[in-house]
C-alpha cells in the first residue's frame, strides 16, 4: 500500500522543494522506503537541496527513452539508505514529458517504494499537470503572504476538479514576530480563507539557507532546530500520529514585545 503525494503551491519560491527534500528525508529516517521525483523539468532543484547534484547520471527522460532502466537512473543517498531521487532533465522544458509518461514512471516506482513524493514546479501549466497526474494526495505549500495564499487557493480549486481527494496545507516561512505585531496574516486567517486541513507550520529560518548551501536537508543535522522539528512532526503526522502544532508564538514573549503590547492598550 503506497502513497503518491504531490507537493505543489502555484506560487514559486514558497518552499516546495525544501519541503519535499526534508519531508522525504524525515520519512526515510522513520524507516519508510521513499522515492523523490523531481517534476521541475528544465529548472530542477531537488538535487541541490539533497546535495546530490554531482551524482546524477541519468534522468527520467532517459528512462522513458529506454536508454537505461529506472533503477539505474535513481540516485541513492549514502546518508539516508531508504531514500532515492529520480532526477528531472535540466536541458529540456516542461513539454518534454506528458502526464501519461509521469504516471508510467510512478507506476513503476510504486512497486518498490512506500512513499512517492513529487516535487511540482511553480505555475499551473503543463509542468503542474504533469506533476499532479499520478498523484492521489496533495500537499499545498503556502507562505503568509497575499500572493502565495491567492495562488494556493487557485491550485486548490484546480485540484478539486481532478482525481486528488486528499489535500493538506503546510504554512511555510512563518514569522511569529511579524504576526505578533499584526503585520502578517495569522495562521487562523489563512485556514479561514483556504479551508483545507493543516498538516504543519514551518518557521522562517536562516538555517534553511545554510543547510541548502551545505547540501544537507536540515532534518539530518545533529543540532535540532525549529524547522527540523516541524518537518519531522509533519512526517509523523503523515504516518498517522496526532501531534500538536509547534507553538511558534511562544518565542514572542520577550520583554520588548510585552512592553509594546502593554503600551498598545492606551
Amino acid at each position: 500500500m503506497n502513497r503518491v503525494i504531490v507537493i505543489t503551491s502555484g506560487k514559486g519560491g514558497v518552499g516546495k522543494t525544501t519541503v519535499t527534500a526534508n519531508l522525504g528525508t524525515a520519512l526515510a529516517s522513520l524507516g519508510r522506503k521513499v522515492a523523490l521525483v523531481d517534476a521541475d523539468f528544465g529548472l530542477r532543484n531537488l538535487d541541490i537541496l539533497l546535495g546530490l547534484e554531482q551524482r546524477i547520471v541519468y534522468t527520467a527522460l532517459d528512462v522513458l527513452a529506454g536508454e537505461c532502466s529506472l533503477d539505474k537512473a535513481l540516485v541513492r543517498d549514502k546518508r539516508v539508505p531508504n531514500l532515492v531521487l529520480l532526477p528531472a532533465a535540466q536541458n529540456r522544458t516542461k513539454e518534454a514529458i506528458t502526464p501519461e509518461q509521469m504516471k508510467e514512471l510512478v507506476e513503476q516506482l510504486s512497486k518498490q517504494y512506500d512513499y512517492i513524493l513529487i516535487d511540482c514546479p511553480a505555475g499551473i501549466e503543463m509542468g503542474f499537470r504533469n506533476a499532479i497526474a499520478p498523484a492521489q494526495e496533495a500537499i499545498i505549500v503556502t507562505t503568509p503572504e497575499m500572493s502565495a495564499v491567492r495562488d494556493a487557493d487557485r491550485v486548490v480549486g484546480l485540484m478539486e476538479s481532478e482525481q486528488i481527494k486528499t489535500i493538506h496545507l503546510i504554512i511555510n516561512r512563518l514569522r511569529p514576530d511579524m504576526i505578533k505585531l499584526n503585520q502578517m496574516i495569522s495562521i487562523e486567517d489563512i485556514l479561514d480563507l483556504l479551508v483545507i486541513p493543516l498538516l504543519g507550520i514551518v518557521p522562517d529560518d536562516q538555517k534553511i539557507i545554510v543547510s541548502t548551501n551545505r547540501g544537507e536537508p536540515i532534518v539530518l543535522e545533529e543540532q535540532t532546530s525549529l524547522p527540523a522539528t516541524a518537518f519531522k512532526n509533519i512526517a509523523a503526522r503523515l504516518e498517522g500520529k496526532n501531534l500538536p502544532f509547534l507553538d511558534l508564538m511562544a518565542s514572542q514573549d520577550t520583554i520588548i514585545n510585552r512592553l509594546k503590547r502593554f503600551l498598545n492598550r492606551f
Partner: protein, 102 residues
C-alpha cells in the same frame, strides 16, 4: 491620547488589511466572474426586481462573499414601495398613490 503623542508605537494593522483584501480577492477569483459580467448581472437583476418593487438605489449593496469554499452573490435591496402591478421600465412615471412601505 498616547496614540497622538507617540504615533510610532501604533503602526497600522496590515495583517488585518491583508486578510480583508484576500477575502474579496478569493471570492472574486472563485466565482470566475469578471467585472463586466458582474456589472451586467447587477443591472439585469435590478431591472427585474424594479418591475415588482421600487428599490432605494442609493442604498443598494451588491457583493460576492465567501463561505467555506463557496462563493455567494449577496444582494441587499431596500424596498421603497411595492408596485401594484408588475410594470415595465417605461411605466414608472404613472401616478399611483400608495402608502410607502418602511
Amino acid at each position: 491620547m498616547l496614540q497622538q503623542l507617540l504615533p510610532w508605537l501604533y503602526p497600522p494593522k496590515t495583517g488585518e488589511q491583508a486578510k480583508h483584501r484576500l477575502k474579496l480577492i478569493l471570492a472574486h477569483d472563485r466565482a470566475g466572474l469578471n467585472p463586466a459580467i458582474l456589472e451586467s448581472l447587477r443591472r439585469e437583476i435590478l431591472e427585474v426586481v424594479n418591475r415588482y418593487v421600487e428599490i432605494d438605489s442609493e442604498s443598494i449593496e451588491f457583493s460576492l462573499e465567501n463561505d467555506q469554499r463557496l462563493t455567494c452573490l449577496i444582494a441587499n435591496l431596500p424596498i421603497k414601495r411595492i408596485k401594484p402591478y408588475p410594470t415595465d421600465e417605461t411605466e414608472t412615471t404613472s401616478k399611483v398613490e400608495s402608502t410607502p412601505s418602511s
